[in-house]
């Protein structure tokens, strides 16, 4: 299993666009936004926090959404289309291990991406490290797994790699929108923010465990539920060829 993860990790590193978007992009975006003076001045809109403080959770959402809803379904659907999964099924190793390896690689990439974001935020803009590290870790894991489960569901249902890419993009846009990436969440109507709080990967819980009070357990519960539900359906309906 370790060898599969290791190989998939090497393959991930050989896709420069994936590495840039999933690992470097959030930190780069933070640097760009932080370069604008207005965005690093305390603002009454965010309880006198700065825009960049309030936007950290949305930056985490971009990393998670890229990994879970772009890289994962695209890779898995391509592997199916090219017969990589089928070839696995002729060996003593079940192809499901390849999917597990994909999720593990995404977790590693996600951790690196977010640690990088934290380091840049702390070093350049003096943004606090997560106030509730344990809750933050739990939220991150649930967020990543819930998006991965949805990504695998898309890969399971899409007839080929192209439509998997298309469907995943729609979900990706919704997640990014509700995660406050396109429009900052303070500009969104309240009811959209309430919906967004329950949707994977849990932008509200990420923000709360980072710079607020502890996350709402109900939000985390919903993430866990989505993970289990989407994961089960994906596993049951997955086509290996």
């Amino acid at each position: 299993m370790l060898k599969i993860v290791n190989t998939e990790w090497k393959l991930f590193l050989r896709e420069p666009s994936m590495v840039v978007f999933a690992v470097l992009f959030p930190a780069i975006l933070l640097l760009v936004l932080g370069a604008i003076p207005a965005l690093r001045t305390p603002d009454p809109n965010f309880d006198n926090q700065r825009f960049i403080d309030a936007f950290m959770s949305s930056l985490v959402v971009t990393a998670l959404a890229f990994l879970g809803l772009n890289k994962l379904p695209a890779t898995v659907a391509t592997y199916r289309e090219k017969g990589v999964l089928r070839r696995f099924s002729t060996t003593p190793v079940h192809p499901a291990r390849l999917l597990v390896a994909q999720v593990l690689v995404n977790l590693i990439a996600g951790v690196i991406s977010i640690v990088l974001l934290m380091v840049v935020g702390r070093a350049v803009f003096d943004i606090d490290l997560p106030h509730h590290p344990l809750w933050f870790l739990v939220t991150f894991l649930l967020g990543m797994l819930s998006l991965s489960a949805i990504g695998l569901l898309v890969a399971a249902w899409a007839p080929n790699a192209r439509s998997a890419g298309g469907w995943a993009t729609v979900v990706f846009m919704l997640v990014m929108f509700f995660g406050g990436v396109y429009l900052p969440r303070f500009l969104l109507p309240d009811f959209l923010n309430v919906i967004g709080a329950y949707l994977p990967p849990g932008v509200e819980a990420l923000q709360q465990s980072w710079l607020g009070a502890a996350p709402d357990p109900v939000h985390l519960g919903v993430l866990a539920l989505v993970t289990v539900a989407a994961g089960t359906v994906a596993a049951k309906s997955f086509r290996w060829e």
Binding site: T7, L11, Y79, G83, V84, T91, P92
Partner: protein, 302 residues
């Protein structure tokens, strides 16, 4: 001794019968060909043998195992080269072999395997940069990495140029000489004739014949073909009426007359009587192609 036994295999997709009562046995150490046109049910048959599909009827034993029930054990004894199965674009040849080797308890030395397949200098090359023939050899390497007793090779040389095809053939012979039983799925007559000890001819889901290449040809022995270009128009009926002639076909300016006995003499006599000369005259003996047409009622490749 039979290492694979297939009895009355039936497989249906959405009420379309893909394999309809196929039975054959493969002996240990032979190269066994499964020959037939595209869509004849060859791949479905071997996929049932590999345990990738469940048969709807019949029984299969592979080295004493039931391919579905003993799936896990079968995987360690059977190496499979799938039709149209690729690797990730950016995986290096050496990485792929190393990875697949780790799936088996007692794998072959992958460096040695690469050297044997003439890929020693490609270990660090990314899969996407390989030529078609090299990809095919990697695919064979992956089928052999677990030191299988049986290797199933499906459409091995499709899409390869003639030189790469010949190289691949000698490779298959090497594999057999190393003691591996080979099941070779193909729709190339030449490939089957050159490589196989015995051939199962499958057409429209049914087994038509199982025999050695020579045995199949002998079923149409005595049949010959006379090819020529008549110098003046000729009424084909005159030839068809001859007792020696079984078939006359017009290919452009050429006539192809198939028949038995003293075919050449009979044909030239008719021509002489009508004062027609046979230009570019050639005589051909029956081959596996003819055997196939005789067995299935049509040519393998249109």
């Amino acid at each position: 001794m039979a290492i694979i036994e297939v009895v009355d295999l039936v497989k249906t997709y959405d009420r379309k019968v893909a394999v309809d009562g196929v039975s054959f046995t493969v002996d240990e150490g032979e190269i066994f060909g499964i020959l037939g046109p595209n869509g004849a049910g060859k791949t479905t048959t071997v996929e049932c043998v590999e345990g990738l599909r469940s048969p709807d009827g019949g029984t299969i034993r592979v080295d004493g195992l039931d391919p579905r029930r003993d799936r896990a054990e079968l995987r360690t004894r059977l190496g499979v080269q799938l039709q149209q199965s690729e690797l990730p674009d950016r995986i290096r040849v050496g990485e792929a072999l190393d990875l697949y080797a780790s799936f088996y308890r007692d794998p072959a030395d992958w460096r040695e395997l690469l050297a044997r397949l003439g890929l020693a200098d490609r270990a660090k090359t990314e899969y996407r940069k390989l030529s078609g023939g090299q990809k095919q050899r990697v695919s064979i390497a992956l089928a052999l990495i677990g030191k299988p007793k049986i290797a199933v090779l499906d459409e091995l040389t499709t899409g390869l140029d003639p030189q790469a095809r010949r190289d691949t053939w000698s490779l298959v012979e090497q594999v057999r000489d190393a003691g591996v039983t080979v099941v070779l799925v193909t729709h190339f007559m030449e490939e089957a004739e050159r490589l196989c000890d015995r051939i199962a001819v499958i057409d429209a889901g049914r087994l038509v014949a199982v025999d050695s290449p020579a045995g199949l040809v002998s079923r149409v022995d005595g049949e010959q073909r006379v090819r020529f270009r008549p110098t003046a128009p000729l009424d084909v009926k005159l030839l068809e009426e001859l007792p020696e002639v079984s078939n006359v076909e017009q290919h452009g300016p050429q006539l192809v007359v198939t028949g038995t006995g003293n075919l050449l003499h009979a044909v030239t006599s008719v021509l002489a009587r009508n004062q027609i000369v046979a230009a570019d005259l050639r005589i051909e003996q029956a081959g596996l192609d003819d055997a196939f047409i005789r067995l299935t009622g049509r040519a393998l490749t249109e």
